[in-house]
Subunit: 145 residues, 3 copies
């Protein structure tokens, strides 16, 4: 692979990581699920050993959650390793702020007192539909209050 | 457009987003205003419906503000959609820390108790001077204290 | 240089910045030191005028620190300026969370009460081993509690 190919793969994977956070926070769960390969697997940072397998099951796991909590998942400093033209892995950092929709502040909503700082561990695969998450899990490392 | 073209456009737009934050925090307002198209429009996150139109007016709005507050606008997880070779849109997250210059801490300044978490909504246009903000507005979603 | 060359250089430098944070937090100090040029220099954000010179000395400065503190260095909005095909500079923002390993929380560890927000100032050089830090220093701008 050329360095330009590697750059392009990293950019494609970064795009998936950033879109996951946005779709999650905005409640766009169909679009979130479509970031995974058809047989992709996902485990939440708060339950890192509990993998949900398959795009349909991942969608169901998001749409069936009790709604109402507003979240912002701030993604930072992704490190990507490209294994070959069809496979890559990444570690990225995530900081989650949340708020209840019935707690107005002067600007926006009043944050819940706890922020969670953690990581996502990803593997990616190039499919006929482009780059997708093959497997994504998370872990909370630090809880700030 | 090739995928390399799309990658390059996304990188150009990310550059504008990151530079806006740095120039804002460092008080480099001429450089900040030059990130906008000549007829670009900007609305602050705390007044999201109040658009300032034109590079000169945007510059004036920054230079006429009372100074003194130190800020850091942390930008994260930008999601960019490229419409065509000359137009793109983006959503990015921003977390603002601030401090008063007369409040020293052991390291740097003591933060004001409030952090603002929100988003920027951008549209970009390719001009004769390169990619520029056509329209940028912001919104505060969560206030953390 | 073409715009594609500039994009590639920026991506290479961003990679160094992100990897420094990860290797630092994960205790992978050999890999961290290898991000510097053989004669590279580094000054910590909390001691910004105290440069450690040379890859070996940088490694020693990390391995000889008292261990135990868990950190997460969140990197955001890097702005890179490419001087020529072999030299570039950057400013990036960093937010440091830390925790003691013997302070469990419901999820992960309980954060220390202080977060540090600051910047890294970098210069990069292209070497026979690829892009490396020539000089990196940091500064804490805001302490949040």
């Amino acid at each position: 692979m050329s360095s330009f190919d590697i750059d392009a793969i990293e950019q494609a994977c970064q795009r998936l990581i950033n879109r996951f956070a946005l779709y999650n926070d905005m409640g766009q769960f169909e679009q979130l699920a479509a970031l995974f390969a058809e047989d992709g697997a996902f485990a939440r940072p708060t339950t890192p050993d509990d993998f949900i397998v398959g795009r349909a099951a991942i969608l169901e796991s998001f749409t069936s959650r009790p709604g109402g909590k507003v979240t912002r998942h701030l993604l930072s400093n992704t490190v990507i390793d490209v294994q070959d033209a069809d496979h890559a892995t990444a570690i990225s950092y995530v900081t989650q702020y949340s708020a209840n929709p019935d707690s107005p502040a002067k600007f926006g909503l009043k944050a819940n007192p706890t922020q969670l700082v953690g990581e996502y561990y990803d593997s990616f695969v190039r499919t006929a539909e482009g780059w997708k998450f093959a497997k994504r899990s998370g872990r909370v490392s630090i809880t700030a209050e």
